[in-house]
């Protein structure tokens, strides 16, 4: 899988959809859903996923257009191509939903997530954590004599990789925002 979460054979690199509609491949897609920022709208979207048995790998939501009361929900989901098509169709027919974009198939896209890591340690481990943070371009946003809090922005894979490295060095806690994503170009 490329960092953009595009599976081989998906239509973004080809004029044709090369995926076998009947194959039971599980794909990961990032969807951007533009919705009216009204009360209950997030519950509606989440309820659709739980009610119909769809997966949510990550979900972010915030108002992105204050003047027209629009919010953007970015949801990363997995399923067979048929299920992904259903999810998009089910989202699109909801009354407060304005647009549904599949950032995985609609073209190249960038995805970023922000994460905070609290790592405790002394001596060697502390120095190693700091060196690794530098390699990963993580910032130190808090430090005490026995701990750091690192802040890092990147793809979910990069954040996973950094977490794996920090774990043996004393990772205490971690918080991540979930994916925000935009298509490239205009």
């Amino acid at each position: 899988m490329s960092p953009l979460n595009i599976k081989k054979g998906s239509s973004s690199h080809s004029a044709y959809d090369l995926r076998d509609p009947n194959a039971v491949v599980i794909e990961t897609h990032t969807l951007a859903v533009v919705v009216d920022n009204e009360s209950g709208v997030l519950a509606r979207v989440i309820g659709l996923f739980s009610g119909r048995g769809y997966n949510i790998d990550s979900l972010t939501v915030a108002e992105t257009d204050h003047a027209s009361h629009l919010s953007r929900i970015t949801v990363v989901t997995t399923g067979t191509p048929q299920v992904i098509e259903q999810i998009k169709a089910q989202l699109a027919r909801m009354v407060p939903v304005h647009e549904v974009h599949d950032l995985t198939t609609d073209g190249p896209a960038v995805q970023r997530e922000l994460a905070l890591f609290k790592v405790s340690g002394k001596g060697e481990a502390r120095i190693e954590a700091l060196q690794l943070a530098e390699i990963f371009r993580a910032n130190v946003v808090d430090s005490t004599l026995g701990s750091f809090v690192f802040e890092m922005t990147g793809t979910p894979e990069k954040i996973d990789a950094f977490a794996d490295l920090m774990r043996p060095l004393g990772l205490l806690e971690m918080a991540r925002t979930g994916v925000a994503a935009l298509s490239r170009g205009v």
């Binding site: 509609p21 009360s39 209950g40 519950a43 509606r44 309820g47 169709a89 699109a92 909801m94 009354v95």
Partner: protein, 584 residues
């Protein structure tokens, strides 16, 4: 000119502006201001029900028989929760209704106030959309939007929850024309390229079949008209789901009868063996498809549906057409005519030959009796004695429902109301009242089972109070018949809890309600008894004592393909594997 009024007055004004003539409802603390407004006007009639579930099913019956949005009004808490079953019923069958519910005052929301329930939370997955209105300024616009959403695109139920303080407060009334609805405008025009592919396939198909559903009815009478023209001019066979009965006349020569789990042999085999399936407004429901893997294996499939999420949900479609049935049929018919009205005549002749063989099986044959009334016979007589009348049929859920679909003929749309998707026992009696309110002079019959009918029998009080002369035709087998049938076929004849014990005396019950009761148990008396029922000017409870252990055939057992249909008692030995027993 801006008009100031209270929220409660806005509700009534908005309903009037939407052309609402009748509201089915039940009062309570949280809707008293609205009831006060209803009291002070005469344009909108209020039908006082006996249970809120009844109100919602009445609104459904009203909607399905008129094509208009049906309206129910309920109080907060228990009033709203009682409405839930009806909302889901309308959601599954795509019926346009509006439920208005009262709510505790805004400042009490979240405090577990008296009769507080999270109504929008509970009904979110039960409605097409719902709203909690916290500001009187927005109330009238929301109600107009609710009507718009309910009837646009694929119709469905909507709910507007109104806290009591919002009903009391004053605000500006937004008229219908000023309401913003631009954002929700489902697509109605089909893609011309796909319509062309549809027509091309129809021109060459050897074994085509029209598979029609409730979408044709929902699209309006013109859709049925266009469908009839298309069928007549192409001479293609046509079948329909339970929901679509009446879109093509049962007396029409191309009619194969209903398809599906209890559909006709010829209809299901035509679906299985066709090379072109033209799905118009149906959704490949599991009662239709049987085992997906074996569903119509050799056909190209065209699917016309206004809801994009119906396309490819269950069955892969070769020609998907998203649009309103009327528009798509109009365009397709125009194009097909313009291209010279071509069909594959030789193929069709052969195809009709095969269909004639299937028809000759006479799959609805049953063993009649002169001692006991067979349910099929009762419906045959009901059909014969009401033929040509201005007739509307509702049903409950069970064997009687399937027999009604098999043995009653529907010549036009909007004449058949049955709970298809949800299969709600207790639907038929209130629905019949809703239909009768909309069509006061018509003959409205609820074909019922004893068990289902008891679920909402309190509504006989409503029928009496509002003089709706609904006929309750109960096929009384003293069983939860459909459950008993499954237990016989799938659970080793272990009849767990499927006997209707302690049934009331239906004639005395009729007496208690003040309407007419008729009991009939001898086939020789049946015609006269039915005539009595039809002649009586008022509600009738007709207790038709029928064979207790009759099974409903044909039947495609769950998990089986169309061509493995059971035709009668003799065929049923050991055909259903354990896998079939898992499915419902």
């Amino acid at each position: 000119m801006t008009r100031q009024m209270t929220g409660a007055a806005m509700v009534v004004q908005a309903l009037k502006d939407q052309g609402v003539e009748v509201v089915f409802g039940y009062p309570g603390g949280a809707v008293l201001p609205i009831y006060d407004e209803i009291f002070q006007q005469n344009d909108i009639r209020h039908i006082l029900v006996r249970h809120e579930q009844g109100a919602v099913h009445m609104a459904e019956g009203y909607a399905r028989s008129t094509g208009k949005v049906g309206v129910a009004l309920v109080t907060s808490g228990p009033g709203a929760t009682n409405a839930v079953t009806g909302l889901v019923d309308a959601l599954m069958d795509s019926i346009p209704i509006l439920v208005i519910s009262g709510q505790v005052p805004t400042f009490m929301i979240g405090t577990d106030g008296f009769q507080e329930a999270d109504t929008v939370g509970i009904t979110r997955p039960c409605t097409k959309h719902n709203w909690l209105v916290k500001d009187t300024e927005k109330l009238s616009e929301v109600i107009h939007q609710a009507f718009h959403v309910s009837r646009s695109g694929r119709p469905g139920p909507v709910l507007v929850d109104i806290p009591k303080d919002v009903q009391f407060a004053t605000g500006t009334y937004t008229p219908m024309e000023k309401t913003r609805t631009a954002h929700y405008q489902p697509r109605v025009q089909g893609d011309p390229e796909q319509i062309l592919r549809m027509v091309e396939l129809m021109e060459t198909a050897e074994r085509p079949v029209f598979y029609t559903g409730g979408g044709v009815i929902n699209s309006g009478p013109k859709a049925s008209q266009l469908l009839r023209e298309f069928v007549a001019e192409t001479d293609f066979p046509i079948t329909s789901t339970l929901m679509g009965l009446g879109c093509y006349p049962a007396s029409g020569k191309n009619w194969l009868g209903m398809l599906g789990m209890h559909g006709l042999y010829e209809a299901n085999l035509a679906m299985h063996g066709c090379d072109l399936m033209i799905n118009i407004g149906a959704r490949f429901d599991d009662r239709i498809t049987g085992r997906i893997k074996d569903f119509s294996p050799g056909s190209k499939k065209i699917h016309v549906d206004i809801d994009p999420s119906s396309i490819n949900k269950v069955i892969r479609t070769d020609v998907p057409i998203i649009g309103d049935v009327t528009h798509v049929l109009e365009e397709a018919l125009k194009l097909w005519r313009a291209r010279g009205r071509k069909t594959n005549k030789a193929g069709l002749t052969q195809w009709w030959g095969r269909i004639a063989e299937w028809r000759s099986v006479k799959c609805l044959t049953y063993k009649n009796s002169d001692k006991i009334i067979k349910p099929q016979y009762a419906l045959e007589r009901l059909e014969a004695l009401t033929k040509g009348m201005d007739r509307y049929i509702t049903t409950e859920v069970g064997q009687h429902q399937m027999w009604a679909a098999q043995f009653l003929g529907f010549e036009g749309p909007n004449r058949w109301m049955t709970s298809g998707g949800l299969g709600t026992m207790g639907y038929g009696l209130p629905a019949s009242i809703g239909v009768q309110v909309a069509h006061p002079d018509a003959l409205v019959i609820n074909v019922a089972g004893d068990a289902s009918w008891l679920m909402n029998m309190q509504e006989m009080g409503t029928a009496m109070q509002f003089r709706t002369p609904v006929k309750q035709f109960i096929l009384n087998n003293e069983r939860l018949g459909m459950v008993r049938q499954w237990q016989e076929l799938l659970h080793g004849e272990r009849y767990s809890q499927s006997w209707s014990e302690s049934l009331p005396d239906f004639v005395k019950l009729a007496d208690a309600f003040g309407c007419k009761g008729i009991q009939c148990k001898d086939p020789a008396d049946l015609d006269d008894a039915i005539r009595d029922m039809l002649a009586y000017d008022g509600p009738v409870i007709f207790d038709c004592l029928v064979e207790k252990h009759e099974n409903c055939f044909p039947m495609i057992p769950s998990g089986k393909p169309h061509n493995e249909m059971l035709l009668g008692d003799a065929d049923t030995q050991g055909v259903i594997g354990a896998k079939g027993a898992v499915l419902v």
